[in-house]
Amino acid sequence: MAPVQVRTQEFPRASSRALANGRVQQALTNVMGHFDHAREAAIQELTPEVWERYRERGREIKRHAMEYLDFYLELLSERVEANGGKVHFARTAQEATQIVLEIAKALGVKVAVKGKSMLSEEMGLNHALEEQGIAPVETDLGEYIIQLAQEPPFHILAPAMHKTKEEVGELFAAKLGLGGLQQIPDMAAAARKTLRERFLQADMGITGVNFAVAETGTVVIVTNEGNGRMCTSLPRVHVALMGMEKVVPALEDLSVMLRLLPRAATGQRITSYVTLVSGPRQPGDEDGPEEFHLVIVDAGRTRLLADPELREALYCIRCGACLNTCPVYRKVGGHAYGWVYPGPIGSVITPVMVGLPRARDLPFASSLCGACREVCPLKINIPLMLVSLRRRLMEGAPGERGVSWGQRLLVRLWSRVVASEGSLRRARRLAAVFQRPFLRRRVVRWIPFPPFSRWTRNRDMPGLARRSFHELWDRDLKTTGRSKRP
């Protein structure tokens, strides 16, 4: 796969394409509801009150950990080293890639099995490994599928959710020479067999990190397939990649985090496998890697940390709930967002990581309905952060502005008009006349000249009612409390 490309500029076109793509729409319709239901059921089982308590606690843990991030990162690195592991720090994704390549080259690694890691997508690690003649093998089934298809993940949790089983069957036939697979269990069994060989061959296991416990120097890897456990146990070296925000202070903080993540993600009480790694194999251990490396990566995260309005984005545990519930993601899917993290949280993180001017459409890819915040296990206030980014686009230097002069003019006008009752009434009367030529079944679909054309191109506006609230109020409402004719 090519190194991760930033295609955030293409959001308007890419999202239109996704909307027009029947297969993608079908996949989204089939799948998205599942996630939502499963999460809801898990919360009901626990009771919403208890869920709320866990959320508060989880949020508090993250808030505290971010506030003292320097302290906890130092503690974490000391403890990992005390356990016999080696800790590396990378300020950029490129640095992180270099570190992994050096480790691999020093050991003469030929095959590296990989657990799911969104950070490695940020790094474009697979591409870099391939260039050095090292074969990276994704082992999470979904990641494996999209690696074969040479595509980026569609969803942070279910990277291949946009693929039908027929497409997967074709892919296995074309890339693995395994023809005739029609049923999903057979495909999973084929992947088990192929990947088992790779696990036993591999010299290096690369995984992400879901949580890192500073106190004990432990990284925690959460999977359902068991591939994480294979990657951390079978090869002779294990490299764990973590974004620096993954740290939690104490071992006992894990219990609440492990309750939040699986429920929000898939509605499970816990995933089938939770693996705690605190260093390489110790004397007497039967197996496990001889070397353990932890790579702690910044890659733009300090920018979020330093930003009081956006720091909360670092609380994210990548559960995917905000994607699953977002009316925009549910229609346009993951690829349209153009970088590693799609959906509401992606629309916050991506502009900071790749630069706001390049991702100027993302903060607007939201109706600000608030559903993401509602479902987020950490109660991250995504809508507020999107508004903050929009404001920056509005106020930014001309080159960084995300809006045209026409839109700016429109917004200025709007804020003038609604500021006084008189002007609002006058404007309404004017608009009621003005809208007439554009009304189609009481909806304004498109006004084909600036400054309205761009704004109305993707938006339908209900036409103004025949009588405004003001008029109704003046006639009856004020005195009778009800209106005669709605």
Binding site: N83, R192, E252
Partner: protein, 259 residues
């Protein structure tokens, strides 16, 4: 070596936090509890768990069943061994691997299986001296049998602390995993588990053990069309065999407080 030094990295983090100096150790309760307090905490947990033992076993059985474990409540150690034998016959197994947990002194599966011509390999690589060979055995074996170090009723979880005699792979590579759980190993919640492990960490003078694995059912995936498939990389079947209490005082748990 590529990368940034720790000092440089932490400096950037500090700057982003608007701080010049490193923070003093924050007031954080979960970190502040010292040895004696943590011990007290665990003593309280043990007492609660002891008082609720019966309910906890029922809860473990129920929750584990819901998470995909096949749960068998053995009336006796012999019944448990019989269960393993029956399973081996069903799978037409010719090779069973097992760990070196204490529980096998109560549940002597080796003899029983060997009588039927089924090979049993206890994984103790240090003795055999050939890890590669053992790994192949584990990859070939149809069934892996282990004890556990703890179980958690809240989540239907078996917890293993790999160490000498306890390979990580026995519960991972074979298509069938059988976990033998003794009643005294069952805790109520994840909080209990991590409190106990933290005490062990403190008492072990900062030794967390290299690995701790929590297993809550068979391997699963829903990566193709969100259709659940059981058994993708790890075991296709996970069996949890719940033993009756041992007649004499149970062997101490790894995390049991010592004075």
């Amino acid at each position: 070596m590529a990368g940034t030094t720790r000092e440089e990295f932490l400096k950037t983090v500090r700057q982003s936090l608007g701080r010049k100096e490193g923070a003093p150790e924050p007031e954080y309760l979960a970190l502040r509890l010292r040895r004696e307090d943590q011990r007290q905490k665990v003593v309280t947990i043990e007492a609660r768990v002891e008082a609720r033992r019966r309910d906890l076993l029922t809860r473990l059985e129920r929750v584990a069943g819901q998470s995909g474990w096949r749960v068998y409540r053995a009336a006796s150690p012999e019944a448990a061994a019989g269960y393993v034998l029956k399973l081996a016959r069903e799978k037409a197994a010719d090779l069973v691997v097992r760990s070196e947990h204490d529980v096998f002194r109560r549940v002597p599966i080796d003899g029983l299986l060997r009588q039927e011509g089924i090979a049993v390999t206890p994984i103790l690589a240090a003795r055999a001296g050939d890890r590669e060979h053992l790994r192949q055995e584990m990859d070939k074996a149809q069934i892996g049998v282990t004890g556990v170090d703890y179980a958690v009723a809240e989540t239907g979880t078996c917890v293993l602390l790999p160490r000498r005699g306890v390979s990580r792979a026995v519960s991972l590579l074979p298509p069938v995993h059988v976990a033998l759980v003794e009643p005294h190993q069952v805790y109520e919640t994840l909080d209990d588990l991590f409190a106990v492990r933290r005490l062990a960490f403190i008492q072990g003078r900062g030794d967390a053990g290299s690995y701790l694995s929590l297993t809550s059912g068979p391997s699963r995936t829903a990566d193709i069309e969100q259709t659940l498939v059981i058994g993708v990389h790890g075991p296709v079947e996970a069996h949890l065999v719940l033993l009756p209490p041992a007649p004499e005082a149970a062997s101490p748990r790894p995390g049991t407080p010592s004075p």
